[in-house]
Symmetry: C2
Subunit: 200 residues, 2 copies
DNA sequence: CGTAAAATAGCACGATCGTTCGTTCTATTG
DNA sequence: CAATAGAACGAACGATCGTGCTATTTTACG
């Protein structure tokens, strides 16, 4: 069926490692990743794991990238099948909430934002680029909703995108500490108020 | 003047260690704290530092507690001199924003929430207790504003407290990644809308 | 001043860290 | 079959980790 275009067979191993690393990073963050424990997870030697990435930092970058791809595939891609404008925006939020439910025990992207927002280096740059890109997607969706007349013409897209993001941060925060069910109720209520306050 | 009731002189050393540890934890989190580097910071031996806390975990708990005390002293205490109700609530938010400006490079309390929300143990419990306590203070302030007629009588205090907290999470997130000045503008705009939507 | 207690230093331990190196195994290719 | 490239292993490295122990120094008190 799906023939591997590149003959690389050991590339599947790399993917397997990233899968385990992703789960580890959800709990302990990218900074908590260690090649030794990771090697035990996948049943390989430390040097075997190490060879796939060349350095711990490159492993962390690969995990961050994998997390971003997962997020986009789970949140943005399904929402694109909803009609442009507010419906798609609502679909994005709905998928995002579902993502939050699946990641109550920790999200790699948000954890990474907290880990590297005060430092320098490739990981910081990657986090900023990832976050800026996602914010841009949000703003694009908002602009489409404005163009479709679903939101007020004078809607401040970056402002609304910020408030949406803030609510999702609140969801993740409260879900992790106080439980998802309570948090998602608050988020839904807040979003209804938010949409209403920007409706034309 | 202020005579030390307990004769402990070396207790000042403990405070000095906590001061350095607090600064370290702002960047690297409580999980990034190491007794070795901390000892170098304060110019002591590892064992000398270690003896003040008995274990790394107790050190982390002490830093977390110190951070909470600092937060309360900087945000809640000054706001208590403002009149009850909405003015005090606004004062809390204002002081909180100022706290956020001072901690653009990382806040121990928020970092800790992200580090331990998916784990078990004393640190998790301490974080939950700290966050629940602060949320309770917010709700108390909201209830007073409702009682004073500054907010609608049917105001859902936990809901409003959640939304306030979410905006502050947004401030910290955006300030760390995209700069404080841009973020604080968005937060101010969002808060004005928020107060208005709950006014009687 | 002398003495008990607290504070700090020094040293060592087992463990783990990221990384390097040389070797072995496997599979593809000519 | 022989040659070659890639993948994984195993051992070792220097460093650092948290944590015990035992001296030694410093402080507080009678």
């Amino acid at each position: 069926m799906t023939a591997t275009p590149t003959p690389a067979k050991g590339l599947a191993t790399r993917e397997l490692i990233l899968e385990h690393a992703y789960e580890r990073a959800r709990v302990g963050g990218l900074e908590g990743l260690s090649i030794g424990t990771l090697a035990t997870d996948v049943g390989m030697s430390k040097s075997g794991v190490f060879a796939h990435f060349g350095s711990r930092e490159d492993l962390q970058l690969a995990v961050l990238d994998a997390a971003a791809r997962r997020f986009m595939a789970h949140v943005l891609v399904p929402a694109l099948s909803a009609p442009r404008g507010l419906p798609r925006l609502r679909a994005i939020v709905a998928q995002w909430c579902e993502w939050g439910r699946m990641h109550t025990s920790g999200c790699v992207l948000l954890t990474a934002a907290g880990e590297y927002d005060g430092r320098e280096g490739p990981l910081h740059d990657a986090v900023v680029a990832q976050q800026a890109g996602w914010r841009g997607e949000l703003e694009k969706g908002i602009a489409q909703a404005v163009a479709a007349g679903h939101l007020r013409a004078d809607t401040d897209a970056p402002q609304l995108a910020f408030e949406i993001y803030a609510l999702m941060l609140g969801l993740h925060h409260d879900a992790g500490l106080f439980g998802f069910e309570q948090a998602i109720g608050r988020v839904h209520a807040a979003f209804e108020r938010l949409w209403r306050s920007w409706q034309p």
